[in-house]
Symmetry: C2
Subunit: 227 residues, 2 copies
Amino acid sequence: MRIYFDDFIYGSIDGAVTTFAIVAGVVGASLSPSIILILGFANLFADGFSMAAANYQASKARNEFVQMKRRQEEWEIDNLEEQEIDEIREIYREKGFKDELLEDVVRIITSRRKVWIDTMMKEELGLIEDEKKPIDSSVSTFVGFNLIGVIPLVPFMVFMMLGFESNSNAFIYSTVSVLAAFFLVGMIKGKIVKSSMIRAGIITLIIGGVAAMVAYIVGYGLNFLVS
Amino acid sequence: MRIYFDDFIYGSIDGAVTTFAIVAGVVGASLSPSIILILGFANLFADGFSMAAANYQASKARNEFVQMKRRQEEWEIDNLEEQEIDEIREIYREKGFKDELLEDVVRIITSRRKVWIDTMMKEELGLIEDEKKPIDSSVSTFVGFNLIGVIPLVPFMVFMMLGFESNSNAFIYSTVSVLAAFFLVGMIKGKIVKSSMIRAGIITLIIGGVAAMVAYIVGYGLNFLVS
């Protein structure tokens, strides 16, 4: 089991935004903190699980696509041998090989089926058999979704435990905490890709913040429209 | 602008499940069709936008990670030249080259910086500079999310337009239509990866169906817990 940073980032930003979207939509509809928590937790578990399932299917589709392309290349090597040899020649010509050395390279590469197909996959199609397991991608998304996505709900939990009926302050805290969550995710990203953590934090804060604002405006606007 | 099938599939399954999750959660909380539509559409637009934003950040992170690895390889070639030449030798030895021919290949590959680095990236690290643009990934997800995610809402729209107050039948239609949506997405996947469309439809129906059921149970269960 491995946690992939890209799937984690995907899940975490979406988890924070959509939980906040539920909060925003429900505050717009003037519901109680308990309803907010019902919908918020339903979203965290269910949407996290849903994203994990969707990611699993998408990752599997990508792997199956690569396998399908590999089968195509195998078929071409079996049925269009000369053409495929020419393609290897062209690939190595572009790397700077020529004359007799080029022919030697083509001969060696095409003498082993696996090497030949791997070369076509990488060099012609730009495809590498991904070592990422769909189940690991899927779990990474789920972990990111829940770990970061719970943050906008924390104020409502605290307020409900304290017995407060109003949720206006909780909403402000929720807004602040979701923005802090984006900044945190951005900093994690910055650390992994070895760029400025502060800069990455600010960019993710802006992108996540726009998504959260869209969520709020849509939720609030539709409330006026329908009620 | 290109629609990527994997990002489309990711968005479409999550769009269908989470819209259905909202429907399920809200039916559990006994709210009116208008509230269901408020939350459903808020979810479609906002969560679709959110997933697009999250995908954008995750795709950018992946690209930046590959660029960071490339800079590392460049540094290694500049500072650890002998070691990197040995690595190229090892890579081509495994392809079946040896003796003088191996040395010729190593000389040609390492004589052009770009070829050398590309080879290290593909063969040593298994990384290919992805031609996928983050913005296209992001739009693909948004399109899939909205196109497929609207399906579980259609019955509620029809029922509201017809002036029905009860939503129990709409919920049944919504359940049937979300399952049909999963089957459709699976068939699209099957067509793209050239496997059995029926089989792919059924598998996606099962995976999406489990996610939708989790959404329903969580939404319904929490409703009892908190109210």
